[in-house]
Symmetry: C2
């Protein structure tokens, strides 16, 4: 079936935010899951804060009752997925610098950019490295093999500020209102907890 | 182990709202899942609208971008669970009458009350019966084997209005901010999509 063959080869679009614990958990399984089904992953760094402003949505941790549950659920869901996660002391944080660097790397190699994403997500959620702190982010960039001066110049560069904004606007235009958010064969899936549905889609197609 | 034995025998508290599609989906699997693990289910009818007011939370369908996705996800998640669901034309609806009748039945038999809950949830989400319409709800009560006059008298009775309010306040005090919401051995789980974590908890205990 020509249609199915063409569709099944399509990559998985994966929208994530550097300050989103569920994005972090998903970032740890999405590549292996895609590979098991002959797919690749297109990583899209976004700023959930900007998206929330446009859509009038708030973070789950901004509601008193929901906050306590959510913090508990972040760690439990990580354990359930077998991913090391310790709620960072400072949460959520501003992650535009890490995201701008992502898009700068992406212009050269989308693979390197995805490695940077995983490097940052693990640093923040497993080691407690504060991505919003310039010194910490410079050190992280250096650890990743980048020049810290250049990294800082990139995230202060208007070009990469605009690029991130454009990517965020494009995501919102596509209907992305949260993270992680996946688009597979045009089908949207929101949340780390849609993993089983995503797996079923990849195995057997539309349901 | 005395502790484990006592804990494992504890029932599953299941908080649901008659206008919540994810509650409906969960209502179709929670009894069988509990029984497989030697547990019973304590059904708690609540009004999510009242809870949202107190907690300043909004329904996912009240946000433009989230609304479209959610409506799609309701039906897809139902298909994934093997539960018949067709998004009702009128949604969400006021369900205090069905909930008051639930608590009236509950005072006599919690089992009968849970059957009423399933009867209503199926009627609304599989057959499109509008639970907020008095004539439809009277007919539904009659179909269930109740006297329609008496049913209407119950949901207009101050005693059952107060009882529902008290149950809702108790749920909020317990931390319930959404539905479906489960409490198992003191552990909270929010959402139909926590089914796999609930199953793991029931199988192997805390994780």
């Amino acid at each position: 079936m020509k249609y199915a063959a063409a569709m099944l080869a399509a990559p998985i679009a994966f929208y994530f935010d550097f300050s989103s614990p569920y994005s972090y958990i998903a970032s740890e399984w999405v590549e292996a899951l895609a590979a098991r089904h002959g797919r690749t992953v297109e990583w899209h760094a976004m700023l959930l804060g900007a998206t929330f402003q446009v859509t009038d949505i708030k973070s789950p941790v901004s509601y008193p009752l929901k906050r306590e549950y959510s913090l508990h659920d972040f760690e439990r869901s990580a354990r359930f997925a077998g991913v090391p996660l310790k709620n960072p002391e400072k949460f959520p944080i501003a992650t535009q610098n890490a995201a701008r660097l992502f898009w700068w790397l992406h212009a050269k190699s989308s693979t390197t950019a995805s490695h940077w994403a995983r490097h940052c997500l693990r640093a923040y959620f497993a080691r407690g490295v504060d991505l919003s702190d310039v010194a910490s982010l410079r050190a992280l960039a250096q650890e990743f093999g980048l020049d810290a001066e250049q990294a800082e110049a990139v995230w202060n560069d208007a070009q990469w500020k605009l690029r991130l904004k454009a990517e965020n606007d494009a995501a919102i235009a596509l209907g992305v209102f949260g993270a992680p958010y996946f688009v597979i064969d045009g089908e949207p899936f929101w949340g780390n907890d849609r993993r089983a549905q995503i797996e079923r889609w990849l195995e057997k197609g539309p349901f």
